[in-house]
């Protein structure tokens, strides 16, 4: 598996968790983040008059704040870079740990999707969908870091 240089790992990890906190803040509180970088964009999908005639979610040219879109790009890219950067000594065991963490994160994610499907409804489900957009990456990174921490603790000779 081709991996990125080790020097990207910790800066990307810092950006990943930092941008996640900003993302949670932008969802949870009254803030002005939705007003940043308002630009005309072309929407490929939507109604002619927008959602319930409000004009929001209109098909074609519309204006939106690009902050959330850019934040999404930052979270996803930094998450991938943090999780797919080489360790200082990358060998077959670290590769195995990485792949096992990835498959476990996907399994956990879909187990949670099934549970959430029966306990979140209407607009609350929208927040669940947003959470599950990032959940596999977050769980993968966390599980991988915890398993690597335990791996680096293997110290029976020193």
């Amino acid at each position: 598996m081709k991996l990125l240089n080790h020097k990207f790992k910790w800066p990307a990890t810092a950006v990943f968790y930092g941008s996640l906190l900003i993302g949670i803040y932008s969802l949870s509180f009254e803030n002005q983040l939705d007003e940043i970088w308002k630009l005309p964009v072309y929407s490929l999908f939507g109604n002619e008059n927008g959602f319930l005639g409000t004009g929001l979610g209109k098909k074609g040219w519309t204006e939106t704040a690009l902050f959330n879109e850019i934040l999404t790009v930052v979270i996803v890219l930094s998450g991938f870079i943090a999780s797919f950067s080489r360790e200082k000594v990358e060998d077959e065991l670290t590769t195995k740990i990485r792949l096992e963490s990835l498959s476990f994160a996907i399994l956990m994610n879909y187990a949670l999707v099934l549970v959430a499907n029966f306990f979140f409804f209407d607009f609350a489900y929208l927040y669940v969908l947003i959470a599950f957009l990032f959940a596999p990456l977050i769980m993968f990174n966390l599980i991988f870091q915890v398993r690597l921490f335990n791996y680096y603790k293997l110290d029976d000779e020193k």
């Binding site: 065991l93 791996y151 680096y152 293997l154 110290d155 000779e157």
Partner: protein, 63 residues
Amino acid sequence: MKNEIRVFRAKHRINQDELADKLGVSRQTISAIENNKYFPSLELALKIAKVFGCTVEELFSLD
């Protein structure tokens, strides 16, 4: 599966760090193999055998 890597290391008087350097893996990986927490790939098993000048069967055997 059990292995005799620790015994061979003692015979050749090399520690886990030195063996790890020769094989291009981390010391923790050598430790995991010695403690049967990880079974190496065929490629790594052959490399370990080459370092000790023995066969893979002498290093690894079924319980």
